[in-house]
Subunit: 217 residues, 2 copies
């Protein structure tokens, strides 16, 4: 998001050349709604925008639990802005005048870092033949839709949020059910079995004996 067309074009040009899809908005409100609608992998925000300042957009996204990586553009090479921006949850910033190549490098670095983080929690995820769309709460296995109950869906979503990562039963109870684990229960196992049955041969969930469960990376 950027209000000066010349700079915006440069940004788009370079990011596009590097294989990123780019969506541009010229003012704050439009940018905020676009970010919520399009669920991009990262946002590049000018701090000084007509309408809503970029910092405010970032704050509202974070407030809504949206941890999409944010990179600020700022004209003022002023440390106060820098610190404020980073402290309120931005991931990086670039001061104008910047080189587009530098911006691209920053976007890359931020994406590399956030690869394992909670960001993009609402973007569809794909693991092998299984797809899961958190926003629509839909799951498909091998292209065919799969009907999961609420708990089953949350469980699978939790596991697929970090493919490869092994979750203990306590972690799953805390993360999916929402309360601390009371030991000696096998509820998690039963739900895992249920999900596996519904996914059919595309059972992405792997058991780690003595530890917990994970989906294949």
């Amino acid at each position: 998001m950027e209000d000066e067309p010349a700079i915006a074009d440069l940004v788009r040009l370079y990011l596009t050349r590097d294989g990123f899809g780019v969506h541009l908005e010229r003012d704050g409100e439009a940018g905020l709604s676009a970010a919520r609608r399009l669920r991009p992998v990262a946002c590049v925000l000018d701090i000084a925008l007509p309408g809503l300042p970029g910092t405010e957009i970032c704050r509202r996204l974070r407030e809504a639990g949206d941890w999409t990586p944010v990179i600020f553009l700022t004209a003022r090479d002023d440390e106060v802005d820098r610190i404020v921006g980073l402290e309120l949850g931005a991931d990086d910033y670039v001061t104008k005048p910047f080189s587009p190549r530098e911006l691209v490098a920053r976007v890359r670095a931020v994406l590399r870092r956030s690869a394992g983080g909670p960001e993009g929690a609402d973007r569809p995820r794909v693991v092998g033949p299984v797809t899961l769309d958190p926003a629509r709460r839909t799951v498909t296995a091998g292209g065919a839709p799969v009907q999961l109950t609420s708990t089953e869906f949350d469980l699978l979503a939790h596991l697929m949020a970090r493919p490869g990562r092994v979750f203990t039963r306590e972690e799953l109870l805390a993360g999916v059910w929402g309360y601390a684990a009371h030991a000696g229960t096998r509820t998690v196992d039963v739900h895992v079995a249920q999900v596996r049955a519904k996914l059919g041969p595309a059972s992405v969930i792997r058991t780690h004996r003595g530890v917990g469960y994970a989906v294949d990376a």
Copy 2:
């Protein structure tokens, strides 16, 4: 790591005041070995260092599978340096002259980000041809995946947490099996043998006769 004492002192002063423990090194080689030895939560590297340049230190750490967050200090406000730094796996950089407050904010931001990803004890470890990922509970030897049981994995993870350090059988029993373990000390031997067999020729575990076991540093 920093070769100008005045700047180094400032960095230390501000980071210490903010509750960070700080270790200083003045040249590249010392810094690299210190980073490997002390396993800090983050590294602050001057790009221009006597001996090894900071970029080289970062490159070598990454090469060894060490993803400790790295922040570069650079005098040259030159985008090539910036991009090179970020592309080779640095997490951020600060250009001189910088304010110590800004540096602290950067360190904070980097730590906050890395807390969402693989955190502290969950960071992958590499020793020679063997890699171990605590979060995924996966092990590879020479690139090939290795299937370990829970106890075998915990044992190897414990040893690889401090390469070079020799653990007695009692220490391993306490650390891996837990303090309530009533297993005989020979149990450790059996599991070590099992891990060695599964790792194949890449057996990183060395026996210290009369003492215990360690992985090569």
